[in-house]
């Protein structure tokens, strides 16, 4: 094969020494694509160049011939780096496949179904920044109650994803959707505190909506405060609730608050991936996020969360920086 390459290269070089056209150079560059694909290393290219030149210029000064031997010696290391690159590309492909498989496993493990409740419209979106999600949203429900847990592990990627599974099993151990938010946080906090190292923290919000009273009861473990939109006043307020992050100490007293929703009111639960979006000009302000939500408030809750995601994606120049989770509960 190198013989064939030498023949081709010599032809291109011969043409080029005669005429020096752009077309010759274009041929040279296309040829180099082939060389790389056939694993011809740069030191071999120099060697081919030398041999071709010696044939094209029969009275080539001896010094010039010798000079190529030094150049070959110098190029050996470049050739090694290239071969190393090929090994690394294969390794990278294997890792990528493993990550994709892991992301699938995670999706199956953490899957949650958005419940259908009469009188309540629910929308949910959760988009990881890497393959694996370090945010978590989980629903519990029965005929008249629906519970929503939204959590965010400090950090992203695989380590965060591993921790997330913990929350899921904590939630699975609860008796049902009627459980009080402060009890939910207490149970999960004990599990997290027992299982993770001191440097791993999780923020979590838990809210429960009861359709009979249109009441939303909630508690927070250091989580991003949700927004409450009042249709009557056409304004947003933050739902404040104090509470330590999960996993810090075993016994935490969480606060529980309630709010009654009227028709058209909605609650926006999210992770900091929503509020800490950054455009080239700096952080996107909360006011901007509210404006975006408000502009689609008449749409279905699912359309709303999807619109907000795409709008913020655009404002960020499609460079998502953190896992993004957004849930809307809207009273119909």
């Amino acid at each position: 094969m190198p013989q064939e390459f030498k023949r081709q290269y010599k032809e291109i070089l011969e043409q080029y020494t005669l005429r020096q056209t752009e077309h010759n150079l274009y041929e040279g560059q296309n040829f180099s694509k082939q060389l790389i694909q056939k694993n011809i290393s740069p030191e071999e290219v120099i060697s081919i160049h030398k041999a071709s030149l010696e044939e094209i210029i029969p009275d080539l000064p001896e010094d010039v011939s010798h000079s190529f031997d030094l150049l070959i010696e110098v190029m050996i290391r470049y050739g090694l780096a290239l071969k190393e690159h090929q090994t690394l590309i294969k390794k990278q492909e294997n890792i990528k496949m493993e990550m994709e498989l892991a992301a699938n496993v995670q999706q199956t493990l953490l899957k949650t179904k958005v419940p259908e409740m009469s009188g309540l419209d629910i929308g949910m979106i959760s988009v990881p920044v890497k393959e694996m999600n370090g945010d978590y949203a989980h629903f519990l429900s029965d005929e008249t109650s629906v519970g929503i847990a939204v959590a965010d592990v400090i950090g992203k990627g695989i380590p965060a994803a591993l921790c997330m599974s913990m929350i899921k099993y904590g939630m699975d151990s609860l008796s049902g959707a009627k459980t009080d938010p402060i009890i939910v946080l207490d149970v999960v906090n004990r599990i997290v505190e027992k299982s993770v190292s001191d440097s791993m923290f999780i923020s979590m919000f838990y809210g429960r909506y009861e359709t009979t009273e249109s009441m939303f009861t909630y508690a927070s473990a250091g989580h991003e405060p949700p927004l409450f939109y009042s249709a009557k006043n056409n304004e947003f307020t933050e739902l404040q609730a104090k509470g330590l992050l999960l996993g810090v100490i075993p016994n935490v007293k969480y606060e529980q608050h309630s709010i009654v929703l009227e028709k058209g009111d909605f609650i926006v639960i999210m992770t900091d991936g929503v509020t800490e979006c950054r455009s080239k000009e700096g952080f996107i302000e909360q006011k901007k996020v509210m404006e975006i939500i408000e502009s689609v408030k008449e749409e279905s809750a699912q359309s709303m969360v999807e619109y907000v995601f795409h709008k913020l994606e655009e404002l960020q120049d499609f460079e998502q920086r953190d896992d993004f989770t957004l849930v809307i509960f809207k009273k119909m």
Binding site: E22, K33, I36, H85
Partner: protein, 133 residues
């Protein structure tokens, strides 16, 4: 100073014409042989992308200046199908890029600045700048 000139890309021969134009302009700005070859390779890659994926388009070359800095701006535009997943084509070693170091990541590496605007169904405009140091 704002010299501009352009080449329509319709056949493979136009790729060579765009390269020639780019090399001449690069020489005029004062780029050395290696940088000339880099700029030409970038143009080659952009023109080839137009030829292969959009069918036809245009390569525009502009000599530019910013303060004391002189440079060359290459604008490749087409009304082709657009790029549905920009993140993917900018990924290293993405198979359709045609192998090692090729494709748009290669163009980005060869130049100093790189910007891509693409709308699916409407077309793509890529601007790439190289500054003379």
């Amino acid at each position: 100073m704002n010299l501009r000139s352009s080449v329509d890309i319709i056949t493979e021969w136009d790729i060579v014409a765009a390269r020639q134009l780019g090399r001449n302009e690069a020489k005029e700005v004062g780029f050395g042989t290696v940088d000339q070859a880099r700029i030409t390779t970038a143009i080659s890659e952009l023109a080839r992308n137009i030829y292969l994926y959009a069918g036809k388009g245009n390569i525009e070359i502009k000599q530019i200046a910013e303060g004391n800095l002189k440079g060359l701006l290459v604008i490749a535009s087409d009304k082709g199908p657009g790029i549905p997943d920009v993140r993917k084509v900018m990924e290293d070693g993405y198979t359709t890029s045609g192998g090692l170091g090729a494709g748009l990541p290669g163009v980005k590496r060869l130049m100093d600045e790189f910007k891509i605007d693409t709308v699916v169904g409407e077309g793509t405009t890529i601007s790439a700048t190289k500054w003379l140091r």
